[in-house]
Symmetry: D2
Subunit: 430 residues, 4 copies
């Protein structure tokens, strides 16, 4: 099923040094317009407004996930582990490469406002009338379905699914390393080589040799640090809030029949909740940014102001609250109106519930969404869930701490500060 | 003149680890829309199509140049060197930060087609009706003029100019390190700390302590490697050719009165050669990419094809030629026409003259454009031009080698290969 | 009190890149025979037998501790923090540089067998008839006493003591980074720059700005990983056991009046428990290794065998035990005798009690040995012990897990395996 | 011939991250006393007195050379290159591992004074009554001879020899990277992965794919920088001079029948020029340092002073001379005698002839000692010597520059400075 390239292709990659492509199908998938489109979508959405180095694209991350998967399988093959189904190599590599192909621009914000689902788009791209689908069908007419079922976690062999989707999958390993590299923080760096060396296929699962326990601890701690230092950074949250408000306002205006000075069909499709695959594939960050640039000149002041804030990085200020204080929140909305602000847009409270996050949690949840636990394999071929043996992981499993923040446009508030209650002024440190 | 920030601001930077802002003017400049706009312009133009990590922006490079300048001055101050004019600190820092503020999207290609000049735009931004100008005027009404004169290399104190513009200036030091980091090649890495330590202000110049000679050799070799491995990479050249052809075709069509399905005022201004500062500041890579995406559906097939090539990375193939062979080049144009191709667009020869480059050349050129040489300061306070003492630098000074390449759309040629002359087929390895 | 060097001296250091010496006293201290002697004593004792890169000396570590201390103080001075007693700079730097000057070869093993105390030797060197003492007295006749009192943690200003000795002192920060660098593991790497930036002198203590909490978490996790992956590595423990047995056997023989084929006065002094300062300063790892090499030819077979084992790295095998099992340990000693082995030398059990270790523990212990806790300073200038705010640190504070291992010479046991009880064979996996 | 280990062994290595041992013979060789002895011999001799991190041993370098050789062969096998004689794998690996096993302490200095030859000792160890020989004979009775012939460059298949000994062999690649890592300079870092990827076995030689030319340039520049910045550093030369003088003085005294207060058989063998293999294997840096420590108390003042200088790092001062000036050198010897110094010991001139060095030189020399040139293999399977195609390499090939330095004990000269001629005072900057 694999058609080897005459000479392997090498991509220079800052994280993995080199990425090796040995199979013709992979090479062709990379060169499809749908995959090249990922170059125009940043891996970390608006995080570049907090960490200026974080400009890297989903294209490079997708190559990285492919490369880690390739290395894992290569280790399995080199050691001749019989629990690894060798015939699933190409399927695994394709699923790894394509797992994020359905992501749109600023995906998480988009999905919140327009209720789209990047995983669904991924399947649509794999199964629809696309170049990706054509390349996959050349392997076998059933091949697109198989690739989609791996990505949707429905494939019959869980070991293949777990390569791309588990507590310690190729996806997470690549993004932790890559995001750390490009942001420049040095928390996300764990010993990838060592982890790759201690993985074992075992009775339909991928498990970890017990001697690798400390390396897994280190990986989980990296995850913890990256979440708090990068992914949940309040400045990034602020930029996401402004972005979501732009999208929300545009949607609202569109519903009201507002006539935009600048509009393009994919954006209209988005606002109407009926975007086609062809248009979705046109939608990239460049298009949204161009729209925001043009909308700066819209007559709707709210939209215009929000777009300028996003492009010029004049974000909302944030203040940490001791705790949720619903009576004060009601009150502040009132005060906001009194000073001419719109509480639906000019403030937002970010609660821990908005960032549910576990460093690691063993056991499955009722909704079945939980990823399977990390298992250690000892010399006696016994499997043990890792937190049983690792005190560190036991300590942090299920740990959850969130902070309450309130976000608002400081420039609009300050001139009216004297009209605010003393309680509000104190809480906002004005 | 410097107004210190209450607490210094720190930007996390992957190359310099941290970038420190201690002065209020610098902080305000960074937050102007004109400077924030640099986030939307890639430092290396189309190089991301060759090195997928090279997505970094001119914003991060500009901060890096500022930081290196800050470190150099800080070293001068710490050592109490009297040849350094202390009162020029803020001016130097502002010039370093703003030296690239006039760059547009895909600057070098744009300038070739539309004859714009980013240095002129930089001065326009500094002197025109902008936020940058307003912040600089707050320092002193004459301050914008001074900053502009440093960037245009006309400032009365050459030592200030040379910080930002010389054979070994903060600009070059940052981009070599930064471009190496983001592309992932490891050629560009020289010992910045050591070089910063051996710089000395001396009689109106910045010179190098003789003990630092080997560090300078290493820096020049990095430059050499980065030029050949990254900046002149033939795939990057190919993408620039496709990009320039898009711009050329659009310009041609516009002159012919062609009605574009998608057009925006800044692009129209560009095509007409009369773009205003306000529109120039709107012009970013997102806007051009959005236009290219829309132009894929133009009825002009040439424009549509070129735009698709650029966005989907279906670039022109390249073949190295032994030497310029003008009679064959005439002949191939003829053959191109016979197989239905347009030799004005479907082929391009890249000659060494198109990439003039010296690793290092001492002495000034007639046009006065040449940057001053690197001088070594020995224990007896004698200055010597570095190639006199360094055999390595003497060997490579003035070295120039170029390669001839021909670029063309392979997919359009292959079906007609049998109609080409045997000479052409051999030269193109068809 | 500080006499600046005309030009600062720079040591190239792989961990800190450069180490800067600006003061004449520091320069002179480095050049004393007592400090140069640290070049002949490895930082990690026998760890090089586990990690072959770990050949680095206490000389380089001592310079590193000096450099970190210098950087901390420099940050305090740059920010003009009034809680830092500026007049204590030279004292702090000298104490940092000299804090380990009393270490002998394979210090920890030596101290266990001969009950010497490196901290006592440090004071003897600082206060005795040495070059170090002479250089310190040149500053001020009382200066040696002050330096010694800082190192013995008795100096009147605790802030000075805490620079060199606390839960997060310059000593620990350097050794974690240095040991990680030279062993090649990448667990010990935390963000030193960031930690240095968030330290503050505050009311006689050194505290951490709250925004630096995550950086401290990362530092403590590095510590945890280094302990389990490097410092307590069972192969290193095995080499220490063999080393201690050599020393114990030599001591025993000496007491019995045994005539050694090779002996030198410092070693004799050690065996007799009455070594003079002059002889102690002669005692380095080279001398011990030379003795072991010569003792390979001693007629006492036990000593000869142990010396060969140490030099040729034929260490004792280790087997992890589920738990302490004293009845079996009594039994195995009996079995050992039956197969001609000496249970006093040919086996050793390593229990968790031998490696007491806390990642971090707030609060002082009854014996007063405990180092003060890490305190966070928030925006309201409130101090909070870090584990109150950090869930991660709360989870791991006080965590203690040890493993039981039994060590023995496998080669001597295997030929007699059939004579051992089945219980013993099973436990030893023979 | 290869007996695979049940599970591959992994050494943690700071330079190569991991070193993999898959074959039983290699594992056994590493565990011989003769190979373990390399742990007690520093890779860079006295360089640790200049770069304090340079404490790394020939043991770690030997493992590194083995690992690079293993990687090269593994690449050849993975690509199925038929020009690589697969049956020579174990031979190549053993030769790589053992190529330096005959090195003694401070090898280069020792060889200069006592005219021993480490390559000869290597063969003696491989062919003599040693554990190494026993392990090799277990493979095949002729195997030791084959390994020795590879190391002596007489093996019938030059491709095997060139792996370990050529202009770009595994030996040089490891030591450049390793010495750069441990000294902390960042000149020695070239792209090993890339070089390993472009090597090809071709008609009995190892050649470089033309696309790898720039990587080779970078490697040669690293070599150039390491020579001038590290290997020929004047402080290291000074320490070697003091070391050689110790050995020369001891030899002289021994010839005169001087009775040493401390002597050991291997050192006596060395001084008498008749050291046996058994004694040579006992001779390590620890033994020499111990001797020097004891000799500090010898009644011969010259010997005692030199030993103290070496151990306490009170080296000779150096002054660069414009050029060799033989009449002045005659004169200064006279002056030295007048102030009571011994010109045979208290001064030494280091001339460029003492450090013959080429960055790279194509073509063989009359004595046949020259290593074969680096050949590029182009797409047409033509071989070209690299300096023909690389301007940079052409420029530096054969480049040779040396500096004259005079070394002398400054402390002994300064008190008598007024008695020296003005010419001498000027030249020595006194």
């Amino acid at each position: 099923m694999l058609t080897q390239l005459q000479e392997e292709k090498v991509f220079k990659d800052p994280v993995h040094h080199s990425i090796y492509v040995q199979d013709m199908t992979i090479w062709k998938l990379i060169n499809t317009p749908e995959f090249q489109r990922l170059r125009r979508i940043r891996q970390l959405g608006t995080s570049y407004l907090t960490f200026h180095g974080a400009e890297h694209s989903r294209f490079s991350h997708s190559l990285g996930v492919y490369e880690i998967t390739r290395k894992i399988i290569s280790q399995f093959e080199r050691n001749g582990f019989t629990d690894w189904p060798q015939e699933e190599k190409l399927l695994s590599l394709c699923a790894a490469l394509l797992h994020d192909v359905g992501h749109g621009p600023f995906s998480h914000s988009l999905e919140q406002i327009f209720h789209t689902d990047h995983e669904q788009w991924t399947c649509d791209i794999i199964l629809g009338q696309t170049e990706v689908n054509r390349v996959l069908r050349d392997v076998d007419p059933q091949f697109p379905d198989k690739v989609a079922s791996v990505i949707c976690k429905k494939y019959e062999k869980p070991i293949v699914v777990s390569l791309v989707s588990s507590q310690m999958d190729a996806d997470r390993m690549d993004y932790l390393l890559r995001d750390a590299y490009f942001t420049g923080v040095n928390y996300g760096t764990f010993d990838l080589d060592r982890i790759l060396r201690v993985l074992r296929p075992y009775k339909g699962k991928i498990v970890v040799k017990e001697s690798g326990m400390h390396a897994v601890e280190d990986y989980l701690m990296s995850r913890y640090q990256m979440y708090w230092q990068v992914y949940f950074h309040p400045v990034t949250r602020s930029s996401e809030i402004v972005l979501r408000q732009i999208l929300r306002r545009a949607s609202e205006l569109h519903k009201e029949g507002y006539e935009f000075g600048f509009m393009l069909p994919p954006i209209r499709g988005l606002l109407e909740g009926s975007i086609s695959l062809r248009h979705y594939l046109k939608l990239d960050e460049a298009m949204l940014q161009t729209a925001f640039g043009q909308w700066q000149e819209e007559k709707d002041e709210l939209l215009s102001d929000l777009c300028g804030r996003f492009l010029n990085r004049q974000l909302y200020k944030y203040v940490q609250l001791e705790q949720q204080d619903s009576s004060w929140l009601d009150e502040i909305k009132q005060e906001w109106r009194q000073i001419g602000l719109n509480p639906d847009y000019h403030m937002e409270v970010d609660t821990p519930m908005d960032s549910p996050y576990d460093v690691y949690k063993p056991g499955t949840l009722p909704d079945g969404k939980e990823k399977p636990p990390i298992l250690l394999l000892d010399d006696q071929e016994q499997l043990t869930e890792i937190s049983v043996k690792s005190d560190i992981i036991q300590s942090i499993a299920g740990l959850q701490r969130g902070k309450y923040y309130i976000y608002y446009p400081e420039e609009n508030v300050l001139p009216h500060a004297h009209k605010l209650s003393s309680d509000t002024r104190k809480k906002l440190s004005i």
